[in-house]
């Protein structure tokens, strides 16, 4: 008898576990009842000094729902992000979970201080994914968040789409929480993120978009349904989320400068990740053309760097190998010139060399002015000429100003992409 009972020990254990665990499991409320899902976060400075206005874009799941629930915005002004999120939970009556938070939008005013002091709570906690995108905006981040709420939750988020696209074609900040921190902790202390703005697109007549209440909901403890457009008498002003390719550059955690789209084109040349671009060369003159304007697509861009320290001056020599495809040739007012399949010669190469040299010098001047090191030349010099680099740093009054002494030279080789 005793042996028989012992042989069935597994069965008894399973029954015991069922008796212990089943009632508690059945008694637990479903997760959709106790949770609200945060899909995006906006951080602004509050009207009250020293406080932050934190807005969360939340989705309250419904059991058996079709994922067509509206996104809601919840705001709270508090001294810290942690406090804001906690107070929002009281408002919503649910625990706000951040695992599905795709992006955090930071307004320019917030970025005037070291944002790592704000984000520290998120990074240390296990609640949020480290791949959450960081986005800078010139205006109010809450408005941008409100505009993104217009997107159906079943579609791909448009902010991510913009960021992903920009990363391939522009020097832009596809920065996520983790990469931002990595750059912040590196010796160069320079991080960057995409600057995305919102414009009002006037549309007369029409359906007037979706019926939405205002998404502003400012002030402590406000909750509002999402909205990104306002209708008034047939004219519709629709908020459009857009990126002109400008990039916010952070130094020591603070936004040091927003690089405009024109300046960004200069940075594009120095970024090895940007391989494709459309470039227009003006005033090309040779035995065939005179003061012509030629457009090229850069199909391939190969950069070879040489880092050296000559007489205690850090020097970077960059050799650009450009695979070009001629797209358009204009001479004066005429556009119907014979088609040149590959109009690449010394004059074009020279024009490219001058353009690149100018662009590189401009971007370096911006970096030197603010002391930031976007392309991590610190590491490159440390790897290539460690001893001389240390000597150079020790010779500086403030080693953080190492960018000011760096000289950069370029060489360009152009060839047909075909």
């Amino acid at each position: 008898m005793r042996k028989s009972l012992f042989n069935k020990i597994i069965l008894w254990c399973v029954i015991l576990f069922l008796l212990i665990l089943a009632p508690t499991s059945l008694d637990m409320p479903s997760q959709s009842v106790v949770r609200a899902i945060c899909t995006g976060l906006a951080i602004d400075t509050s009207n009250e000094s020293g406080k932050l206005e934190v807005t969360a874009q939340i989705l309250i799941p419904e059991a058996g729902g079709q994922y067509t629930q509206k996104l809601s915005l919840v705001s709270y002004d508090a001294k810290s992000l942690e406090e804001s999120l906690e107070m929002m939970e009281y408002q919503v009556g649910k625990k706000i979970r951040m695992e599905h938070c795709c992006f955090i939008i930071l307004s320019n005013a917030v970025c005037e201080r070291n944002i790592t002091t704000i984000l520290d709570y998120l990074v240390r906690g296990n609640n949020i994914g480290n791949n959450t995108l960081l986005i800078h905006t010139d205006g109010k981040s809450k408005d941008l968040l409100s505009a993104t709420s217009n997107v159906n939750s079943s579609e791909v988020d448009n902010l991510q789409v913009i960021s992903e696209y920009n990363e391939k074609y522009l020097f832009s900040g596809g920065a996520n929480l983790l990469s931002f921190y990595h750059d912040y902790l590196s010796p160069h202390k320079t991080s960057y993120m995409a600057n995305i703005t919102m414009i009002k697109d006037d549309k007369s007549g029409g359906n007037g978009g979706t019926d939405q209440s205002s998404g502003s909901g400012s002030g402590s403890g406000s909750e509002s349904s999402q909205g990104s457009s306002s209708s008034d008498k047939g004219n519709t002003q629709e908020d459009v989320v857009t990126s002109d390719g400008s990039v916010a550059i952070f130094y020591k955690g603070k936004c040091a400068r927003v690089v405009t789209s024109e300046e960004r084109e200069d940075f594009n040349w120095l970024d090895p990740k940007v391989e494709k671009a459309m470039v227009q060369i003006e005033n090309v003159s040779d035995n065939i053309l005179k003061n012509a304007t030629i457009s090229y697509t850069i199909e391939r861009k190969k950069m070879t760097h040489k880092f050296e320290i000559v007489n205690n001056v850090p020097t970077i020599r960059i050799n650009f190998d450009l695979g070009l495809q001629t797209e358009m040739v204009l001479q004066g007012d005429e556009s119907s010139l014979p088609i040149f399949d590959d109009y690449i010669n010394d004059a074009v190469t020279l024009a490219f060399a001058e353009k690149i040299d100018r662009a590189v010098k401009n971007s370096m001047n911006i970096q030197k002015e603010h002391g930031f090191d976007v392309f991590d030349y610190y590491k490159e010099f440390s790897i290539n000429c460690n001893a001389d680099w240390k000597k150079y740093l020790s010779s500086l009054e403030n080693p953080d100003d190492y960018m000011k002494g760096i000289e950069i030279f370029t060489e360009v080789t152009c060839y047909s992409a075909f």
Partner: protein, 363 residues
């Protein structure tokens, strides 16, 4: 009586070596060695290979006797108890650590709020049952799961190769060799698992090439661990200091992977299976130590006692992994270095003296 085939022993050694290093070890090493963390991992992996080689050699040279008998014949009864006691203390700390890792991993990956006591009931039961059933059951279970675990781990490792830049942590040795040694010292606890293999002494069917095969497979596993750490350090760089669970973060780096939920399931299934297997192996070894001390003929009582000890220790530490990691980094790892050294000496003695006896017998 042999309970494990050579193949099963090799798989057990590989699983014990592999699984428990991929959760918190990379972060712990990085916190001490910073950019040079990969060198600490390499040094410790080499030392662990040496340890596995000597333990397997000792097992091969003493084929038909259990650990206690072999130790008793060389170091007297008291000596044998002391040695097994030391190894048992290490195994107790290691199993408790594994449970805390497993619990924290559940919290990180699957559940927000989950009572450690509710967690303890089924996990203790599953691992305890495996430990109770003995080496043969463990060997067979791991034999079935091995390829699943290995392929899952390789996929986890490979998924982030695209984000590598290979020079993220360069230049190395900026602060000399000391951070590397400090990293090695503070993480030795993770690399001492193989000591528990001693409890399989007398239970393995000895083939001619057992030592050679074990070393080859362990080398492959060591390379996999080094590759894992290298990719991990390269992808995450200095932001490593904000990451505790290497495995769960590993599949979530790509901003667009998380949206698609491509590989989170892989971590959820494979990595938890790995941790369960590893914990069961270590719990078995601890149970064997308990059996020796209690001089019990059955396994049930030592296993129950063992799990009572693990539960008590975990409760004292409030199932808080961070507390345990602090203890490991500051104290337990350095004690483990001593234990590893002692084990190496013991294994050399066991291997050499047995050979001398055999030679005498031949003469």
């Amino acid at each position: 009586m042999t309970e494990l085939t050579s193949r099963q022993y090799i798989i057990v050694a590989s699983i014990i070596m592999l699984t428990s290093k991929l959760v918190t070890m990379p972060s712990v090493v990085f916190s001490s060695a910073s950019n040079d963390a990969i060198f600490s991992v390499i040094i410790n992996s080499i030392l662990e290979l040496l340890l596995i080689f000597l333990i397997t050699l000792a097992i091969a040279k003493n084929p038909n006797k259990g650990l206690f008998e072999v130790l008793k014949s060389k170091f007297t009864r008291v000596g044998a108890y002391i040695i097994i006691g030391l190894i048992a203390i290490y195994a107790l700390a290691r199993v408790t650590f594994c449970y805390e890792e497993l619990y924290s991993f559940f919290l990180e990956l699957l559940y927000d709020e989950f009572s450690p006591y509710i967690f303890a009931i089924p996990t203790f039961f599953v691992t305890g049952y495996l430990a109770y059933k003995g080496a043969r059951t463990i060997g067979r279970t791991l034999e079935i799961l091995f390829w699943f675990i290995l392929i899952g781990t390789i996929v986890s490792v490979v998924c982030n190769v695209g984000f590598m830049s290979f020079d993220t942590n360069m230049p190395y040795f900026q602060n000399g060799i000391m951070p590397v040694l400090e990293g090695s010292g503070s993480s030795a606890f993770y690399f001492g698992n193989s000591i528990c293999l001693l409890f399989f002494m007398g239970k393995v069917r000895i083939d001619d090439n057992l030592v050679k095969k074990t070393i080859i497979s362990s080398s492959v596993i060591a390379l996999l661990i080094i590759a894992f750490c290298f990719i991990f350090y390269d992808v995450f760089g200095l932001s490593m200091q904000y990451i505790l669970f290497a495995l769960s973060q590993y599949s979530q780096y790509d901003p667009f992977i998380l949206e698609l939920q491509r590989l989170v399931w892989l971590s959820a299934i494979v990595d938890i299976t790995k941790l369960f297997c590893s914990t069961a192996c270590l719990a078995y070894c601890l149970g064997q130590a308990g059996k020796t001390f209690m001089q019990s003929k059955t396994t049930l009582l030592p296993i129950l006692t063992t799990f009572l000890l693990i539960f008590s220790l975990a409760t004292i530490l409030h199932y808080d992994l961070l507390v345990m990691i602090e203890l490991v980094r500051n104290y337990i790892s350095y004690i483990t270095i001593g234990l590893i050294t002692l084990t190496i000496i013991i294994c050399i003695i066991l291997s050499i003296s047995r050979r001398q006896n055999a030679q005498k017998f031949i003469q």
